[in-house]
Subunit: 259 residues, 2 copies
């Protein structure tokens, strides 16, 4: 048997489609932009699109499909969103009910797919610049927090901005801020640095992910997080919504380092 | 009598040369790069040039003259360094002895002139981006501190890195960091953010300039400062050296916002 390769986005998507990959995509197809997936009935699509446009830091839009069309050719000629992410979560009335590896059985003719930038390509850029990323070194998930910063609502989509936190020594924090400013499709520049209380965050109590590893002298740096639109979906309570499973992203043909 | 205009670098230099300007240059000829002036005997020039090249953040070189030549045509076709800054300080064995408005009487055939970027153009860029600069709002000089960070020595030129500190709310601090990273000739990105003690600084006790105005929630941001090479000159104790008087910069024809 040939070994399965994950060097390109197309290889990763094909492995998902053929049942050879149902694992997190961190570190796969480096240099390719990975994305959060949100699939909604068309009745919710216009409001959700406006929500993303109004909140570009947590929800930078990489692509939007036609109604009922599972393809997103601008993100991959062969891409079929029903099969091409490693795993999916199905939400009914805002509550997760199923985790599946394809969504053929759930597909509806009125579904619209949104793909939203994620921070994996930013973290790859940090590591390439020799900036230590503490949660990756510790083999943990990044710490994520609901803030006291409201998103700009659109129809039923609303709720607090969710941020991810990475801490660095002050010099690496400066470099991480500058580097991320060049990657707007991976959430861009941070939304906050320093005192967590100013944005309603207690570092020891993440709302999602794992507790952070903060070293003496570290500066906490907070980026807008792709969990924000997922929170807005829970807030909107559509009868059905489908997202990727956490960490199991859609890998696109977009180059990660070109915004 | 015609009113004197200070819209262009050439107008400012001409006003200095004709005795119509002997005042600080902050706010004059906006959009033109201002510079620190250092004039040394040729015996010191090679070491000082290496000092600047080894410490580009405090000492970004805008221009270097030929030995004994008071012109710097790359910084202004008409520029004559003997007359074109508003005021000068003369140092003997590292100690300031005279403040004068031209240096014709001190000129030597072995003098070499260095022009080093300064932060005025960066502060103009902050104000244009609606980022408040506290010391300008308070009508004070920026607070400057000797740090525990050593410069890289070259011959007799050595000593601590001197930094200027500006504090901002966290969101403006992020923007100021990104903005300054695009202006390497105005000291570029900061060298430190957050806890002053990590670089040996007590914010309440500036070594140069005025005490800072720090608001609740502010993040202190520290940039390498053009006072650093002046400190290195005091350390080297050449028999004679001439600099601009503090705040009385040389205004060059370089555009401030193009690095």
């Amino acid at each position: 048997m040939d070994s399965v390769r994950f060097d390109t986005a197309e290889q990763v998507r094909k492995a998902c489609r053929t049942g050879q990959l149902a694992a997190p995509t961190s570190g796969l197809a480096q240099g390719f932009q990975q994305g959060n997936v949100v699939i909604l009935p068309a009745a919710y699509a216009d409001d959700f699109l406006r929500f993303c446009v109004r909140n570009p830091k947590p929800a930078p839009i990489l692509g939007v499909s036609e109604v009922g069309d599972p393809r997103l050719p601008s993100l991959g000629a062969d891409l079929d969103i029903r099969y091409d992410a490693p795993a999916y979560r199905v939400f009914r009335n805002g509550e997760a009910t199923d985790t599946v590896t394809d969504i053929e059985a759930f597909w509806r003719e009125d579904f619209v797919t949104f793909v939203i930038g994620c921070s994996f390509s930013f973290e790859t850029a940090l590591l390439r610049a020799d900036i230590p990323v503490r949660h990756i070194e510790a083999g943990r998930n990044v710490a994520m927090y609901e803030t006291n910063i409201p998103t700009v609502a659109a129809g039923p989509f609303a709720g607090p901005l969710v941020v991810s936190m990475r801490s660095f020594n002050p010099q690496d924090a400066i470099r991480a801020i500058i580097l991320s400013s060049h990657l707007p499709q991976a959430h861009g520049a941070p939304v906050h640095i320093g005192d967590p209380a100013l944005i309603g965050v207690d570092l020891a109590k993440p709302d999602f992910g794992d507790a952070p590893d903060i070293r003496p002298g570290d500066v906490p740096v907070f980026w807008a997080c792709g969990v924000t639109p997922q929170s807005a979906i829970r807030h909107a309570r559509p009868e059905i919504a489908i997202t990727h499973a956490p960490g199991h992203m859609l890998v696109t043909d977009l180059r990660a380092e070109i915004a």
